[in-house]
């Protein structure tokens, strides 16, 4: 359990210490990547709670989502249409749905345990 936490800290430190400025044109990609990462993490947590977590799906989902979002944003830039908004929207919706499901499941479990205690 300590390994993921350590890696998280390492990642955060690396991100803070990185002093490379990317051009403004690519900041869209970065925001999409961040969204995709959050989405995948929350999805993983949900799957864990639903007890159908699969690490292959988790891993491929993480990278595939990021890649797809980047490709979409790239195409959008090429076409002059803000296609990355679609990715942002989709990720946002999924984020909230995952969050709601996690909340519901946690609350349900707590309520169930409470009821059982009663």
């Amino acid at each position: 359990m300590w390994l993921p936490l350590l890696f998280l800290i390492i990642g955060v430190t690396l991100g803070i210490l990185t002093d490379i400025r990317i051009p403004d044109a690519y900041s869209d990609y970065l925001s999409i990547a961040v969204l995709a990462a959050f989405d995948t993490l929350l999805g993983g947590i949900r799957a864990q709670l639903e007890k159908n977590f699969d690490d292959t799906v988790f891993l491929t989902g993480f990278f595939f989502n990021i890649t797809l979002a980047a490709v979409l944003a790239f195409i959008g830039v090429q076409l002059g249409v803000d296609l990355y908004l679609a990715a942002v929207f989709a990720f946002g919706v999924r984020l909230f749905r995952n969050l709601a499901m996690i909340r519901r499941m946690v609350i349900d479990q707590k309520l169930l345990t409470k009821f059982r205690k009663k």
Binding site: L3, P4, L8, I9, G15, S27, V34
Partner: protein
Amino acid sequence: MKRRKGKSIILSLVLLVSGFLVSYSYQLTKSSPEMIQLNDSQWEKEYFYQQQLLDMEKKNKQLREELKEKRKNIQDIENEMADREQVVADFVERKKKLQMLNGEVPIQGEGVEIVLRDAEYIPDEEQVNQYIVHESHIHSVVNELLSAGAKAVAINGQRYMKDSYIACTGPVITVDGVQHPAPFVITAIGDAEVLYSSLNLTQGVVDQLRSDNVDVELSKENQLEMKARLSAEG
């Protein structure tokens, strides 16, 4: 157990990447310049300051132009002053030359010296008058010297000017009112060669003087000095 370990590795990888992404984008946003929202009053203020800046720059430009002009003026004035100084220096030079010619400053240079003495031997039966130096002798010597190009002539150390006169007053002669007894030392500054040879011409001045029984001594001098006239009034 193996499955659990693989899961945690995958989780750590994903966390690493997402942590990196999040913190990187956070840092990027923080360091990128913020958009400054300006409301109306700020706009007005900015416009006002902008206007002020423009005015100042305009004024600056004008002042710079003025400065340039003034500098040019100063340059002109300095040039003029330099010219004037040149003129003044020329005048001073000329004045010095004239003073030299006029005998107001002491001068020196090469030249000749002629000493005229009364004859030492005077036969008893002869007139004494025929054996002494007369003012006409001095006249002829001085005239010869001047016509040969002497720049300055002095008799017994007294400068002989353009308006000087030589008069015979008995046994002595008077130059500009100053009496000089024999022997008469006439010095002349100029080209020594020319002066010497013009005096020494056959049937020239020296010959004539000798035939008039005057003792003549002629010598070239490398360095002759003449004192200034005592008074400018002469």
